[in-house]
């Protein structure tokens, strides 16, 4: 059954951390972020390190304290739900991390690692039933039954990432959060895992939040796109539209920085495009007005004074910029 509304709805979400020490203070890792994800769709989340991508992922699972805003899954508000109410949500929303070697217990066999969520969430199932589910999950990620008794150190990086995906899929979640899940893999293996995720989505209607610093991968897999900078949304909406014609200068800079596997075009672009200068400002002391203004080629005095609000670009895309690029 496909619910009428969005599967996951995030409104004005903020996450703050207190930082100790001389340069300490309140760090707004996620600042007023809103988006929605429908069943069967993929939201790509991009931005540089420190933009709040991973904190956002953790906040969706309520693994970090929420400072403000509202989270709802399947129309149920879980922003301040207690652990008991969260339990079924945690079953339905799962996460796949970047490095499978550090997210899977090295002393577990593949079968134990994949079965563990069932051992926690589905204690009513018999052992035989759980093992059957493990076999099915391994099959679905393209690992045969022969892998069940092996240990993580006996597997390659790609195979271990398949194990993490099997573990995240067991019990039938409806949303999968992939935090840089293919970044550590070789290109040929990365392509296999991306196809696996696409197939899973087609077959099960699972929704994906796909966080990555690699824009070409994100473009391949995403239906919608969220561009973050210093915890704030720069641009949000239909992925194809934004990749074709970004309105925010930051999105443009990100796209321009992607290396092209074509020597002639790469050299042309290097000559034509000014790469983004400078570093990310300290999130403890973000610039006034538009947070991107210190690195923005289009910045004016206005950007220093007023924080740009998200405005509609077209029917389903938005950007936050005083001086947007032409559509």
């Amino acid at each position: 059954m496909i619910p009428a509304g969005p599967l996951l709805q995030v409104q004005d979400l903020s996450v703050q951390f207190s930082v100790q020490g001389a340069r300490g203070g309140q760090l707004r890792a996620v600042d007023g972020v809103s988006f929605e994800i429908a069943a069967g769709k993929t939201l790509g989340v991009v931005g540089e390190s420190g933009c709040g991508k991973s904190t956002l992922a953790r906040a969706l699972l309520r693994l970090v304290p929420i400072a403000g805003g509202r989270l709802s899954f399947d129309a149920v508000d879980y922003t301040s739900a207690d652990e008991r109410t969260l339990r079924p949500m945690r079953r339905a929303m799962r996460m796949v991390f970047q490095d499978p070697m550090s997210s899977i217990d090295p002393r577990f066999t593949v079968a134990q690692a994949v079965r563990e969520p069932l051992d926690i969430f589905e204690r009513q199932l018999s052992r035989a039933e759980r093992n059957r589910e493990v076999g099915a999950a391994l099959e679905r990620v393209g690992l045969g039954a022969s892998f069940a008794r092996r240990y993580p150190h006996e597997l390659s990086g790609g195979q271990n990432q398949r194990v993490s995906i099997a573990r995240a899929l067991i019990g039938g979640p409806r949303l999968l959060i992939c935090d840089e899940s293919v970044s550590a893999l070789d290109v040929s293996i990365q392509a296999q895992i991306l196809n696996l995720l696409t197939d899973l989505q087609r077959d099960t209607g699972i929704a994906l939040v796909f966080i990555s610093h690699d824009l070409s991968v994100v473009r391949h897999i995403s239906h919608r796109l969220l561009v973050l900078y210093l915890g704030r949304v720069m641009e949000y909406g239909d992925a194809a539209t934004i990749f074709r014609a970004p309105r925010h200068p930051y999105t443009r800079s990100l796209l321009d920085a992607v290396p092209i596997a074509d020597p002639a075009r790469a050299r042309e672009k290097a000559a034509a495009v000014q790469s983004l200068a400078g570093d990310l400002p300290s999130p403890l002391d973000p610039p006034s007005g538009c947070v991107f203004r210190t690195r923005c080629p289009r910045a004016t005095p206005q950007c220093k004074v007023a924080q740009p609000r998200l405005q509609d670009s077209d029917r389903d895309s938005q950007f936050a910029c005083h001086h947007p690029l032409d559509p």
Binding site: V187, A191, H213, H220, S253, A257, P263, S275
Partner: protein, 327 residues
């Protein structure tokens, strides 16, 4: 022999004797690098690209057994005495690692670390060393070099730290810089800037460069020639234009095809190379190592290993298949 040759590698082999038998990490690698030329070495994890570089630097692990020859400016590197290597390294030959945090000493200032390199190789005044350190910091575009000279690595962002590492590699104006995944740990925006600066500085000084990377996109914009490695062997070596416009080895073609490209048409499925690289501990097959994953393999590919042959003055390929017809 080419008079401009700076580095001549002949039949390099690197073996590790493990519990499961000998691992042939590098096998029969031969190439020549001219002065002022830049070579990209590309391949997936375990293809032998990093071991090849370590051999060139004389930095192979003690447990490694190697054979063949590496002539650098006419000097044999393999089996050279430690003192001779110490003279070369940092002076004529230098290395840039992937992770700038571990390449720098955390408790000494950037300035101390740069000056140390100069003073280790030359008897010069501290003032002179300082002047040269600041000059090279300027050249790799570290803003405000005078002030940053007295700062510690932790006070620098990842991109700035990698610039410091590049400055350290270039301060003695070496003849060759070997960079192993120098921008892999950086954000895409920072990567673009660092690569651009790196390329400019190396070209300015007439230094030769070996750039090891898993990303063909990085090579396309930075190098003059590209060498593709698979399972410890060179499968293709060509000037950058022909490699990207007329890749001849099926592995190179597949690597290019499974890389998501921002400009390529959107496809539902990614091209993948089925299977994974061979286990090098199991001994080399009689035929081509890529044969089990190759879509075009024939009987000959199973029984005899294709030699690396020149198909044009600047293009070498190790494949039994006849080259694609000229278009």
């Amino acid at each position: 022999m080419n008079e401009d040759a700076l580095l001549v590698v002949r039949d390099l082999a690197v073996r590790f004797n493990g519990r499961r038998g000998a691992v042939h990490a590098v096998n029969g690698v031969s190439f020549t690098l001219g002065r002022g030329r830049s070579l990209g070495i590309v391949g997936e994890s375990g293809c032998g690209k990093s071991q090849t570089c370590l051999a060139i630097m004389g930095l192979l692990a003690e447990s490694a057994e190697c054979s063949g020859s590496i002539l650098f400016e006419g000097d044999e590197i393999l089996g050279a005495r430690r003192r001779r290597l110490d003279e070369l390294r940092g002076q004529r030959l230098s290395l840039v690692f992937q992770d700038p945090m571990t390449a720098l000493t955390p408790h000494r200032t950037i300035g101390q670390q740069l000056c140390e390199i100069v003073q280790q190789h030359e008897s010069t005044t501290h003032a002179d060393a300082r002047r040269r350190a600041i000059e090279i910091m300027d050249r790799v575009r570290i803003p405000d070099a005078e002030r940053r000279f007295d700062m510690y690595p932790f006070e620098f962002s990842g991109g700035m730290r990698q610039r410091v590492v590049i400055a350290a590699a270039l301060i003695q104006r070496p003849a060759l810089v070997v960079a192993d995944e120098p921008t892999t740990a950086l954000d895409v925006t920072v990567q673009a800037e660092v690569l651009r600066t790196f390329k400019a500085v190396v070209e300015h000084a007439g230094t030769s460069l070996i750039l090891v990377t898993h990303d063909l996109g990085v090579v396309a914009g930075t190098c003059d020639e590209v060498m593709v490695m698979y399972a410890g062997r060179v499968v293709e070596h060509a000037d950058v234009i022909s490699l990207f416009s007329k890749p001849q080895h099926p592995y190179t073609q597949a690597l290019l095809a499974c890389r998501p490209d921002l400009d390529a048409a959107h496809t539902a499925r990614m091209y993948t190379i089925e299977g994974r690289p061979p286990d090098l501990a199991r001994g080399e097959p009689a035929g081509c190592s890529f044969e089990p994953r190759c879509a075009h393999a024939t009987q000959a590919c199973r029984t005899s290993r294709p030699p690396l042959e020149a198909r044009s003055p600047t293009h070498r390929v190790a494949c039994h298949l006849s080259p694609p017809a000229e278009s």
